[in-house]
Amino acid sequence: MAQTERVIEMKGITKRFGEFKANDNINLNVEKGEIHALLGENGAGKSTLMNILSGLLEPTSGEIYVNGKKAKIDSPEKANQLGIGMVHQHFMLVDKFTVAENIMLGKEKHNYGFMDDEGAEKDVKDLSDRYGLTVDPSARIEDISVGMQQRAEILKTLFRGADILIFDEPTGVLTPQEIDELMDIMKKLTDEGKSIILITHKLDEIKKVADRCTVIRRGQSIDTVNVKNTSQQELADMMVGRSVSFKVDKIASVPQGPVLEIKNLTVKESRGLEAVKNIDLEVKAGEVLGIAGIDGNGQSELIQAITGLTKAESGTIKLDGKDITGEKPREVTETGLGHIPEDRHRHGLVLPMKLEENMTLQQYYQKPFSKNGLLNHGKIKEFAKKLIEEFDVRTQSEESTAASLSGGNQQKAIIAREISRNPALLIAAQPTRGLDVGAIEYIHKRLIEQRDNGKAVLLMSYELDEVMNVSDRIAVMYDGKIVAIVRADETSENELGLLMAGVSLEKAKKELAGKDIKAGTAGAAGAAGNAENDGKERATVANDETE
C-alpha cells in the first residue's frame, strides 16, 4: 500500500457550548498535497472544527496530530507556527494599505526601523510569481477587485509559512471567472506540496477541484469519500441526510391581475447617478417574476424604491392598485408588501435582539402585539413560537438572540415573518445567498407556495440557476434598464447570459443559433475532465459571446 503522508489528523473532536454539541466526535484526515473538501450545511459544525484547527477555539475533547506529532493548538500563533493558515471568508485586510503592506503586516521589513517598501514589494513579487498569484504589490486594497484581495489574503498566509491552507467559503464573493482562477491557484498550490482544506457547501466546486471530501452533518462526521467516485446527488444526500431535489417542483402558473405596476420609474443611487432608468414592469398575482442581471445593474435600487427605502426620482409605483410612490417603508408594508432583503444581517434582523422580537419587528405596534403603546409579551412569544414551529426554524428557544442562529435559520426566520403577514407582493432579494442545498430547496418551495396561493412574487437573484428554476417570467436588467422579458421555460442559460451582458434579445437569438455547434465542443472538453483546457475553452466562448 502506498504510504501517504498525513499532515492533519483530527481524532474524536468534540466541542460543547453548554448543552449544545457543535462538534460530536469528528474525525478528519488530510493528506499531503491534496485538496480536502469539508462539506456540510450551515450550522453543521464546519466553522467550529476549523476554528479549533486554527487555534481560535479549544476542543472539549479529542486529539489533533500535525505532521504525525500530537499538537495542542491553543492560539492562532501556535497554528501559524505549525504551518496552518486560514484564508478567511471575510478578508482580514487593511483597506488603506497596499497589498505588500498587508502581506507583511506584523512582520514588516525594515532597515533600522525605517520601512523597506521596495524590499517588501520585491518579496511579495517573488512569492506571487512562484505560485502564479498575480497581484500588484503596490496597489491599495481598496482599489483592487475582490478576487485580487483574496489573492493578497492567500499570499499573506503563504508569507507566514503556511503549508496547510484552510479556505473558508472562498467563492461566495467571486465572479465566475474569478472562481475559475481560484481553482487553478488551488491546484497549483497543491502541486507545490501544499495541502488545502476547502470549506464549502457548493457541490460543483467540490467536484471540480477536491480530491477527497469529508461530510459533516449536525456536528458529526458522516463519511470521507473520494470525490471522483461520488456524484453531486450522493454528496447532497449525505450532507442533508435525505434525498434532495435540485429541480424545483412546480405546476404551470395561473397569473391573474397585476399586483405591482411600475411605470417610467427612474431611481438615483447614493452618488446621484441614475441607477434605474425609466423602467416599466408588472408583476401579476399568481406568478413569480425573476430579475436576472449582473450585480450592480440597478436591481438593488429598483427594490429599494419599491420598498420605500429610497425615493424614486420620477415615475409611479402601484401596489395592489394603490399608488405607493414616495411612501415610507411602513406604509408600503401595510399596503401589502413582504420583503426578504438582500443583506439579512444589515436589513433583515436586529441580531442582538431576541428571535421573538425580530419576528414582530414590523408588527409590534399593532394589535394583538401591543395595546395603547404597551407591548403584550405573551402574544409576541406565542406568535414567535407558532412561526418557529411552522417554518422549522432551528433555535434553542424563541428567546435566543437572532445572532445565535445559523445563516439558514436566520433566513428562515425572516421568511417566516414576511410570509406570515400574507402580503400581496413578496420581494425576495438573493433569498438563498450563502445557504446550503437543503435550505435552498425549502425556500424555493415556500416562494412557489406563495405564488400558488395567488400572491405575486418578485425574485431578484444573481444566480442564474435560481432565477431560471423558480421564476415564470424573467426580466433581465442591464445598465439600469430592462433589456428583455422572457419566459423561463423558453429561454436558456446562454441566452440569459447574453442578455445580461447587454445584447438585445433579437441579436442574442440570432447569435445563439449560430453558436450551437461550438458550445457543444466546449461541453465535450469539460467532460473530458481536463480542467485547464476546460477553463480556456470556456473563456474563448465567453469572449465570442460578448463581442
Partner: protein
C-alpha cells in the same frame, strides 16, 4: 450557550470584580506613595456608615447620579454617546432655580411641579439640539454635546451675574420650592437628603417600564442595535434619535433640578462642569444599562464621593491622592471589557481541562 441564570450571574460578577480591582489598584497606589490603604479605606467607609448624616449625604449624591446615569444609559441604548449630561444638568439647575425664584409664593406642589418641569424641558432642549443635528445632518453628537457643555457653563454664569443677580450667588429659593422631607432630615440628623430619592425610585421604575414594556422603548432599542434593519422594518430612525436624546437630556435636567432645589436651594457661578454629569457615564456603564443596576451603582458612587472626604483627616491621605484612588476605581469600571475578556479566557481553559480528564 449559557443558560440565562448563568449569564445573569456572570453579568453581576463583572461589575463587582471591576470595583474590587479598582480598590486593589487604589491600594497599590497608596502603598507606593507610603500611605496605609487599610486606614484610608476604613476612614472612607467608617466615615460614611458610622454617621446617619453622612449616609444621608451619600444617598443624596446617589440620587442625582441615578438621574444622570439613566440619562446617559438611554442615549447609549439608542446608539449615542451623550457626553453632554453635565451641561444638560446645569441648564436644568438654572431653569429650576429661575422658576422657583420667579414665583416664590405659589403653593408648594405647583411651584415644585413647574420648577422641575422647566428643568426637564431645559435639559431636553439642550440635548435635543444635538439629537436634531445628528438626525438631520449626521453631525457627531459627541462633538456637539461637548461644545454645548461649555455653552451651558458660560451661559449659566452669565445668567447668574447679569440676569438673576449682580453677584456670584443667587438668593435661596422659598420654602415652597424646597424638596426637603422633615422626617428624612431628622432621621439623618440634618443631612440634605430629600424627596429626590423617591422621585429617583419612581424614575427607575418608569425607565424599566419604558424600555421593556412599551412600543416606543422597543423602537429605541431596535434603532440603537441596528438602525438599518429598523428603518427597513418601518421605524423612523430620525424620530428615535431625537426622542432618545430628548429623554436623555430631560433626565439630566431633572437631576439638575433635584441637585439645585434639593442639595443647594440656590445657584452659584461654576468654575467647571459638574462632575455629577461625567460620573453618570461611569454609573451607567457599571450598572450595565440596567435601571436597578444603575441605582445601586449610584449608591456606590455616592459613598465613594462622600467617603473620600474622610481620607485626608482620618488617614492622612491627601485630597489629591483620594481623588486619584476614586479615579482608579472609575477607570476599572470603564475597563470592564478587559475583565470580561479575562473571565472568558479562564472559562474556556476550564472547560478544556475538564474535557481532557
Amino acid at each position: 450557550m449559557l443558560t440565562t441564570k448563568q449569564s445573569r450571574l456572570s453579568a453581576l460578577l463583572i461589575p463587582i470584580l471591576s470595583v474590587l480591582l479598582g480598590f486593589i489598584f487604589g491600594a497599590l497606589l497608596m502603598l507606593l506613595f507610603g500611605y496605609n490603604p487599610i486606614d484610608a479605606y476604613q476612614a472612607m467607609l467608617m466615615g460614611v456608615f458610622n454617621s446617619p448624616y453622612f449616609i444621608g449625604e451619600a444617598i443624596r449624591q446617589a440620587t442625582v447620579l441615578t438621574f444622570t446615569g439613566l440619562g446617559f444609559a438611554i442615549a447609549f441604548k439608542a446608539g449615542f454617546f451623550n457626553i453632554g449630561i453635565a451641561g444638560q444638568l446645569l441648564v436644568g439647575w438654572v431653569a429650576a432655580i429661575w422658576v422657583a425664584l420667579s414665583f416664590p409664593d405659589l403653593p408648594r406642589i405647583i411651584l415644585l411641579t413647574i420648577s422641575i418641569g422647566a428643568a426637564i424641558v431645559a435639559g431636553a432642549v439642550w440635548a435635543g439640539i444635538a439629537g436634531t443635528l445628528r438626525a438631520y445632518f449626521g453631525t457627531s453628537e459627541v462633538i456637539v454635546t461637548i461644545m454645548l457643555n461649555y455653552t451651558a457653563l458660560h451661559l449659566t454664569n452669565y445668567i447668574i451675574r447679569s440676569v438673576l443677580t449682580t453677584g456670584n450667588t443667587t438668593d435661596m429659593v422659598s420654602e415652597n420650592a424646597s424638596l426637603s422631607v422633615g422626617w428624612l432630615t431628622t432621621l439623618t440628623q440634618g443631612s440634605r437628603i430629600n424627596m429626590g430619592l423617591f422621585i429617583a425610585i419612581i424614575v427607575v421604575f418608569l425607565y424599566w417600564l419604558f424600555m421593556t414594556q412599551t412600543t416606543a422603548g422597543f423602537e429605541v432599542r431596535a434603532v440603537g442595535l441596528n438602525p438599518d434593519a429598523s428603518t427597513y422594518a418601518g421605524m423612523s430612525a430620525k424620530r428615535n434619535i431625537i426622542l432618545s436624546m430628548l429623554i436623555s437630556g430631560g433626565l439630566a435636567g431633572l437631576g439638575g433640578a433635584i441637585h439645585g432645589l434639593g442639595t443647594f436651594g440656590n445657584l452659584f457661578t461654576q468654575s467647571g462642569l459638574p462632575s455629577l454629569g461625567f460620573n453618570g457615564i461611569a454609573v451607567a456603564l457599571l450598572g450595565l444599562g440596567n435601571p436597578v443596576g444603575i441605582f445601586f451603582s449610584s449608591i456606590l458612587f455616592g459613598v465613594l464621593d462622600v467617603g473620600a472626604g474622610f481620607m485626608p483627616n482620618r488617614a492622612g491621605v491627601p485630597d489629591e491622592m483620594a481623588d486619584i484612588v476614586i479615579a482608579a476605581i472609575i477607570f476599572f469600571v470603564g475597563a470592564n471589557y478587559v475583565i470580561r475578556l479575562v473571565l472568558d479566557k479562564m472559562k474556556s481553559n476550564k472547560t478544556a481541562e475538564k474535557g481532557g480528564e
